[in-house]
């Protein structure tokens, strides 16, 4: 049974996702952040779908479990395309858009192959608790690695667009908190009911909220020195 807190988190998350889409449409930036918009629309639809499934079948039903974890996995893969679009923005001036496109196709294929291998390794194809936790952990960890590399490129290339910097950092917080949470669930399943079950919904609410904040408060022209933002050691590696 879900409590008022769960419904509040779901509602805030849905409203923030819808707000980001509306905000980008109004500011005529829909195509500039096309992948991000598609992700936000998909996330908002998934939220609605999950609530409908929950009301029809209940929290402990297998149908809800399938809907929750598979939409989550698909949304994570959709986020990889958002990361790729950020890569494209960062490397835009270097004219390597073609390579980024190829890399994104390779990444999608590799993720599909990896998921297939994980599924094949399981004794049965049923959605077991361990399987979903392991798959989510791996998918989120790929996200952490990709975002970390992107952040490294942002620092190295002295990217100064404040909007892009904040979008990437919020994505990094989302991926790393989820990956750590699923890894902890894998290591200590007993922690799940008391503490770990709150992390994915909170991280899922943080991302659209942080993006909504960025698109509302930070203008496209705002600039920021990455040396002020990156950790001292990372900033020290910037080319002079």
């Amino acid at each position: 049974m879900l409590g008022p807190f769960d419904y509040a988190v779901t509602l805030i998350s849905f409203l923030a996702e819808a707000y980001v889409v509306v905000c980008l449409c109004v500011s005529k930036n829909y195509f500039r952040y096309f992948s991000l918009n598609i992700y936000m629309l998909a996330a908002a639809s998934a939220t609605v779908g999950q609530v409908i499934t929950l009301r029809h079948f209940g929290l402990t039903s297998q149908v809800y479990g399938y809907v929750y974890y598979y939409t989550d996995a698909l949304l994570t893969i959709a986020l990889f395309f958002v990361i790729m679009s950020f890569y494209q923005q960062v490397f835009h001036q270097m004219g390597v858009g073609r390579y980024v496109r190829w890399a994104s196709i390779f990444l999608l294929s590799a993720t599909a192959l990896f998921s297939y291998l994980v599924v094949r390794r399981m004794p049965s194809h049923h959605l077991t608790n361990r399987f979903v936790v392991e798959m989510s952990q791996n998918l989120y960890f790929v996200g952490v690695v990709l975002t970390y590399l992107l952040w490294g490129a942002v620092v190295k290339l002295r990217e100064t667009r404040t909007r892009l910097i904040q979008l990437v950092l919020a994505l990094g917080i989302f991926f790393s908190s989820n990956a750590a949470c699923y890894a902890l669930r894998n290591l200590f399943p007993a922690l799940e009911p008391s503490f770990l079950k709150w992390v994915p919904p909170l991280a899922g609410t943080f991302l659209p909220l942080a993006w909504a904040y960025t698109f509302t408060k930070i203008s496209e022209d705002a600039r920021l020195e990455t040396a002020r933002v990156a950790l001292p050691r990372m900033a020290a590696h910037q080319p002079s």
Partner: protein, 135 residues
């Protein structure tokens, strides 16, 4: 084993992303200079704010009418200030360089709240002036 490795790397990445995210919010306020009035109210000399004044500044900010656009920033910076306090306490004996870095970060947080206070005072003044002119 793999889960433990993923957990450690993810926690380290999370800390780095969170610190950078907080710094990106603070950096935007770093460009603003404090007005004479706020420096007088808080008792600041020059443009530097002592990190220990953070709590007092937050209390003063809460007394001012809200502009409505800095609440999220204040919450994020509050968490960051607390985190840097933990870093400072842990690193005090082990790494003095990290301690002084954490102290600078805490001072940055305090400066951020001072700028927020400055903006709220200016906003209150505008409100008052508007009310006076309406009469």
């Amino acid at each position: 084993m793999i889960a433990a490795l993923i957990c450690v790397i993810s926690v380290a990445a999370f800390l780095q992303f969170f610190i950078s995210y907080s710094r990106s919010i603070i950096a935007a306020y770093r460009k603003s200079e404090l007005s004479e009035q706020v420096r007088e109210v808080v008792g600041i000399e020059g443009q530097e704010v002592n990190s220990d004044q953070f709590g007092r500044l937050v209390q003063l900010v809460r007394l001012c009418p809200q502009r409505g656009d800095d609440r999220t920033d204040l919450k994020v910076v509050g968490v960051y200030y607390w985190m840097m306090g933990v870093v400072r306490s842990v690193a005090r004996q082990l790494a003095p360089r990290i301690t002084s870095w954490a102290e600078r970060e805490r001072a940055g947080c305090a400066y951020f709240v001072a700028v927020a206070l400055d903006r709220r005072i200016a906003y209150s003044r505008d409100l008052l002036a508007q009310q006076m002119s309406d009469r």
